[in-house]
Symmetry: C2
Subunit: 258 residues, 2 copies
């Protein structure tokens, strides 16, 4: 397919590379900064522009992969002269209907992207939806050229999926960060010692649900340990509050199940 | 070494197996339930007892691996007739001094143990301390027969290490559980779709600190997305509160750094 890629951030960069490697032609790359546009253009063997008015008028597909906050304005700015084109965005938490096009859709590859890290797209689940049936076929086939796992998901459910991803990625990562801070403050043990524990926590999820896999003082409601640990956090109220709330959440969930 | 193992729970079972496989002799296994004692005894090719008064009086090392809550009473009950023996416990959050023996110590293998899962002890970090120098040598050599990573750590710092482990394991796992609940409630997407995201979140930690690796709406302080996601959680105040507090924590940490 001939694709115009709007955006040159982490997601656009990784997605562009995956499309390019799957044999698609990136007809043009747009970024609002010349340097980013040029850098990604050269990676994708593609013309580029930093001027929205110079974006191509025709392609098999326009993919808008920009920050959520500017997505509506970028989409609106592209409307004129492209009313009949097929536009998708890549934002997990945003409705398909933010796109002012009849042929519109969403292509959400659920992953955390970092420019410096190469990502294996074939294992990333894609969640897609479109306004029209034939465009669904187009987007579905395109997704399958990059990933083995493609689900149709409407905007309402996708917003919950994205929220679940925030818990599983951002919030779990913040738990790691709090652990790292505690280690840095006491005994100067390198964070690397945590990796076998973290890896095992994740490995269990292939065998058990997270609820089944839960261990530790909160699930046993071992108030001796919990009180002592809360004391260790006195003077760090942010962590102490999170400790309390997470412990209560673990406990409440166990009680709900029983 | 000839070792008496007090306890037959998850940790005792996994530790006993690791000791046995490293060529040590489990002289006896004790558990307060006959079935557990017998089951572990047969795995470790070892005599067993469910009667504390029948525990051996002499061994190179006594390892008490029981629930934190019963550790003090079990240790006290074993004192008489074993005053000169070398006792260690395996509890990350409990002081060495809970053991009423002159020769005392701690052998804390930091991992989450599940009976049904085999654990590779060689990658698990061990944290040890002892009351005496020569006993430190004994415990250090023993640990190195099981693990490649052995640190000396005093009780005060070990309590923070254990607390860090609670954040990295229990609380991260509760984040996975909340994600799983959201998926179950909306769209019926299997939790397995989260695994590539979760794996990538962990894989980044080999390259970046958790703070550097952080992504998502909170670190960008994208209040549009955050407000929408809070709305999605209305009616689930436990998760909503955690959402708010974790987001604030991510934000505060970034500000502290700058």
């Amino acid at each position: 397919m001939e694709i115009v890629l709007i955006g040159a951030g982490n997601l656009a960069t990784n997605l562009g590379k995956a499309l390019f490697q799957s044999g698609h032609v990136i007809k043009q790359v747009y970024s609002h900064t010349e340097d980013s546009a040029s850098a990604l253009g050269s990676k994708l063997n593609s013309p580029y522009t930093a001027d929205l008015t110079q974006v191509e008028k025709k392609a098999d597909l326009f993919i808008i992969a920009v920050k959520d906050s500017v997505l509506p304005s970028v989409a609106s700015a592209l409307k004129e002269g492209r009313e009949q084109q097929f536009f998708v965005h890549t934002a997990g938490s945003i409705s398909m209907d933010v796109l002012p096009f009849e042929r519109r859709g969403v292509l959400y590859p659920m992953q955390t992207f970092t420019k410096e890290r190469k990502v294996d797209f074939s294992v990333i689940p894609f969640f897609i939806e479109t306004s029209g049936k034939s465009d669904y076929g187009i987007l579905h086939r395109l997704s399958l050229t990059m990933s083995d796992t493609v689900y149709e998901l409407n905007t309402a459910d996708r917003q919950y999926l994205h929220l679940a991803a925030v818990f599983c990625n951002n919030f779990a990562n913040h738990c790691y960060n709090m652990g790292a801070q505690l280690l840095k403050q006491h005994g100067d043990i390198p964070f690397a010692v945590m990796m076998p524990l973290i890896e095992e926590t994740v490995a269990k999820l292939y065998q058990f649900t997270p609820a089944e896999a839960q261990t530790g003082p909160a699930v046993r409601w071992d108030t001796n340990v919990m009180d002592r640990q809360m004391d260790l956090l006195s003077g760090q109220n942010d962590m102490k509050n999170i400790y309390q709330m997470m412990s209560q959440g673990i406990r409440d969930y166990q009680n709900k199940k029983e």
